[in-house]
Symmetry: C2
Subunit: 262 residues, 2 copies
């Protein structure tokens, strides 16, 4: 089962979602592979790989024919493997456009190892180019993390538009598993309530527009989520009793339910 | 004078910086053009252009030979013109890679109108591909908005690396005008102080590492900055007496000083 975490709007929490959801599924005993398709390699850095040690990376596997079996590496989390991101991906569109079957490249490279994992999660860069098309074609489901702010809302309309066109134009058969509300303000302080009021207006708009495609679990803004990556840990290792850890556990449960058709 | 606002890390405030800095310069009487190079067209939406009315856009000018004079439009802000973004830019790398002189395309299309503006600000998508290379080559200066969080810090190291390589590899002669600290927490509440402490650690790291390349003016997290785009207004129209409006006025002053060599 391949789940693609995507949003062309930047900074909505794709990497944070991918890392912590992967960790939550691995903690439940599922065999998980995180595929980092971002040139910045944020997910790889968050899982402890040093910037100078990213190679062999997903870019080399996709664009230079490197063996995926050799490129996949273990992480410090049991049951979670990683295919790192890296700067080679920055020119992926240029390289992919010259090859036969350019949209199906990721599907092809994942084929030999797909059976070894229960879940494969792909972290995408904030774009909608050929590399993201590859991810959507390789995926069974996709998840869209959204921050309830006006600019992020407009980005979502644009993303849904484009994915619908892919589905009809290219016969891509990927299903939206859900929209995750991220960075919801959780504090009762008066100073922040204006922000919370705005956010809740946007969340209501999303629920009206997309119905139960909006996941019930929301992830609140939590400073521990910005700290954990600097210690190369998931939220479960860094702050196992935190609200954030609970929210990601809940998210994993809800994702599992939806993947199994409930 | 062409100023490029760039950061491959998503959600750091490129669009918010571009829109409000452009407005601040226009308010001072400078003739300003905002060039939206983002397929999401966030800057265009923030300045009141409807998603269905983006054409003719920068994508059509760059990739389809549309006349830039005809594509530029007025905004509801005096002295500020706009060249809209749009979805055509999503496959810009594929189209640009097939043409002669592919890195200099933006420089070429801006040439006929450059003299009509004192400042041209380019809002970039969160990437470092051929389109961003075009922007860096067309630019005189570039600005990097950064949110003081660990993942954004790693992204900055990567960005500076890549830009240095462009400069030596391709003879690009663009100067870093400054790094803007954005979304700095401004509240004295205990609940937030942990976040503020982390942020200030990162700001100190940045000042140690990049010296006076880090602008003195910082932009604090302010909910009015997320609201203004939904009213198609700059912060000066939406909340002229707010701290955020003052911060952007101060930022404009500092940018002007730096552009004039102080
Ligand atoms: N719920 C949250 N609470 C607090 N901080 C968060 C939360 N989710 C994400 N962050 C922080 O916000 C920043 C952006 O998140 P992240 O990098 O995961 O987004 P992204 O969508 O992957 O970004 P990009 O578009 O650059 O790939 C990071 O510094 C991250 O630590
Ligand atoms: N100082 C600030 N205070 C509060 N909110 C802010 C601030 N700066 C930006 N924002 C909000 O944060 C979100 C991200 O900002 P923005 O869209 O400008 O970033 P960006 O770097 O242009 O994103 P992208 O990478 O998608 O192009 C927006 O919803 C914006 O309104
Ligand atoms: Mg990311
Ligand atoms: Mg933007």
């Amino acid at each position: 089962m391949v789940i693609v975490v995507i949003n062309n709007k930047g900074g909505t929490g794709k990497t944070t979602t991918c890392v912590n959801l992967s960790a939550a599924l691995a903690n439940l005993g599922y065999r998980v592979l995180l595929v980092d398709l971002d040139p910045q390699a944020s997910a790889s850095l968050s899982l402890g790989v040093d910037y100078s040690n990213l190679s062999p990376s997903s870019g080399e596997v996709l664009l230079e024919g490197y063996s995926i079996e050799k490129a996949i590496r273990k992480t410090n989390i049991n049951c979670l493997d990683l295919l790192t991101g890296g700067i080679e991906l920055a020119h992926s569109d240029l390289v992919l456009s010259d090859i036969e079957d350019r949209e199906n490249k990721l599907t092809e490279v994942l084929e030999p190892i797909k059976d070894r994992y229960d879940y494969i999660l792909c972290d995408c860069a904030p774009a909608l180019s050929l590399l993201q098309v590859n991810a959507l074609i390789a995926g069974d489901h996709f998840i869209i993390p959204v921050v309830p702010e006006y600019l992020a809302l407009e980005g979502l309309v644009n993303l849904m538009d484009v994915v619908e066109r892919f589905k009809t134009g290219m016969g891509v058969d990927i299903d939206l598993l859900g929209i995750i509300i991220n960075k919801l303000n959780s504090t009762p302080f008066v100073f922040l309530n204006r922000e919370l009021r705005n956010q809740l207006d946007i969340v209501n708009l999303l629920r009206e527009h997309y119905g139960d495609k909006v996941l019930k679990t929301t992830i609140k803004r939590n400073v521990q989520l910005t700290e954990a990556p600097s210690y190369n840990q998931s939220i479960f290792q860094y702050a196992p009793k935190s609200n954030a850890a609970q929210q990601y556990s809940q998210l994993a449960e809800e994702i599992l339910m939806r993947c199994n058709g409930f």
